[in-house]
């Protein structure tokens, strides 16, 4: 139980990712699939950010404080910047891919007049 509390963030990462994965697999609606993809992505981002978080640490912008100076920062008091940067660009690229996904869905809707996977498949086989 203690381990569960210590590592609650990872538990939630897995649940979020699996929610997104389930949505991508099982939902009929194409927009719902796109939202599921975005939720899956936030799960991964949450994993990276929470693995780089430190207890009682400051944001990764250096300032003069009591414990560390501008030129010689105390490493344990500054949150890990590397994981944050990886995720920062991932978010922007994520919205671009979400846009591509929505554009594809819209094109499919133009031709089939539906977002529902079953109806689209029926139209294709007809």
């Amino acid at each position: 139980m203690e381990e569960f509390i210590d590592k609650f963030n990872y538990v939630l990462v897995v649940i979020l990712m699996m929610t997104g994965l389930w949505s991508m697999l099982a939902q009929n609606n194409l927009i719902k699939k796109c939202i599921g993809m975005a939720i899956f992505q936030t799960g991964i981002i949450l994993f990276f950010i929470s693995i780089g978080a430190k207890n009682n640490a400051l944001i990764p912008i250096l300032t003069e404080t009591a414990n560390h100076t501008y030129n010689d920062p105390n490493v344990n008091e500054v949150t890990n910047p590397l994981t944050q940067i990886l995720m920062l660009t991932a978010i922007v690229v994520g919205v671009a891919t979400l846009g591509v996904g929505l554009a594809l869905a819209q094109k499919v809707h133009q031709q089939n007049d539906s977002f529902d996977e079953d109806e689209i498949l029926n139209n294709q086989t007809k």
Partner: protein, 345 residues
């Protein structure tokens, strides 16, 4: 274990986030799902602020809660809001649920190998990252470590990520764009389904956004220019700039905006941003260094070697901002007008 090693607020937010995510997927009405998804992103942004990831939170607030919700709206506007499945396929859903459950169980079985949440001595936090925390000021004089690593230490990756945004924009153009004048296909279903735009009905919204847009743009420019010293940078500022133009598209008319920002201008400016970024890298090669090694720009840019890096970061961020801004506008216009550039949300 005297003190609780995790942040209580975070636990609360995380549970809320999960609820919002599940609600967004369970909603039948797509418009409502998009709104709940916006709220989900905003809660995520709060979580990242409490974990100290201010730049990521800023990006998420601008991108996740703002622009991506608008993109989903734009798609729904052209297609219709209801998502009622005709045949629910319960067996398949349960099977998919089982697959996800098993995958999740496998992932959770590795739980004990992970470091505790917030452990400053974990491998991630104690091997590579101290170098950047200790040397950023000496190398570049930039206090915001995230900006430095983004544009300097890791410049290649950011260049290619900017290129990915640019390519995604081109992909959307090639998927959706049709020339309305040349197109023989008449699509009456799209014209009739949404309520027609009435230019007289939203005086308050139009006037309010007319006042807001300049302030948004000034704030975005501040975010780009002050990214060295505060959360922000090219990505966030670019998205806010794009959002200001998208706000004009929504509150006025698409044509009103397209008079000023023609399609040609938008495309040229989208590629200009990547070009600026790549040119800065090329300038480094011409000056005798490696690609994107800003130190050798010292003779052209004011200040010593470290300040040369700092100034080159600003140039690069401007390039990123331009590309991201016009990509967002291009994607929005394509989605909202169904690729015909005549009318929109």
């Amino acid at each position: 274990m005297a003190e609780l090693p995790i942040w209580q607020y975070d636990t609360l937010f995380l549970i809320l986030v999960l609820l919002f995510g599940i609600t967004a997927l369970a909603m039948q009405n797509l418009m409502a799902a998009a709104i709940v998804f916006g709220a989900y992103s905003f809660l995520m942004c709060l979580i990242w602020t409490t974990m100290g990831a201010v730049d990521v939170a800023f990006t998420e607030a601008a991108v996740g809660a703002g622009v991506s919700t608008v993109f989903i709206f734009a798609t729904i506007y052209n297609t219709g809001v209801c998502a009622k499945p005709k045949n629910p396929r319960l067996a398949f859903k349960l099977f998919a649920g089982l697959i996800c459950f098993v995958t999740g169980a496998f992932l959770l079985s590795a739980l004990s190998d992970f470091p505790n949440w917030g452990d400053p001595y974990s491998p991630v936090n104690s091997t590579i990252s101290p170098y950047y925390i200790e040397n950023t000021i000496r190398d570049t004089h930039v206090p915001n470590i995230v900006t430095t690593v983004l544009a300097d230490y890791r410049g290649f990756d950011t260049l290619l990520e900017t290129a990915v945004v640019f390519i995604a924009c081109i992909a959307i153009y090639s998927i959706l764009r049709v020339d309305a004048a040349k197109s023989k296909v008449v699509e009456p279903d799209i014209v009739t389904s949404p309520p027609a735009y009435d230019p007289t009905d939203s005086l308050i919204i139009r006037q309010a956004s007319r006042i807001m847009v300049p302030f948004m743009q000034i704030f975005a420019l501040y975010v780009i220019a002050h990214g060295h010293y505060s959360p922000g940078g090219g990505f966030q500022g670019g998205v806010i700039l794009g959002a200001s133009i998208i706000l004009l598209c929504i509150s006025f008319d698409l044509k009103y905006v397209l008079r000023q920002w023609t399609e040609k201008k938008i495309m040229i400016l989208t590629s200009l941003g990547v070009l600026i970024f790549a040119t800065v890298g090329l300038a480094c090669v011409i000056m005798g260094g490696e690609y994107l090694n800003y130190e050798v720009l010292d003779p052209i840019l004011p200040g010593d070697k470290a300040y040369a890096r700092s100034h080159a970061i600003l140039l690069v961020e401007i390039g990123v901002g331009i590309t991201v801004m016009f990509s967002m506008i291009g994607i929005y216009i394509n989605l909202a007008s169904n690729g015909r550039f005549d009318r929109g949300l």
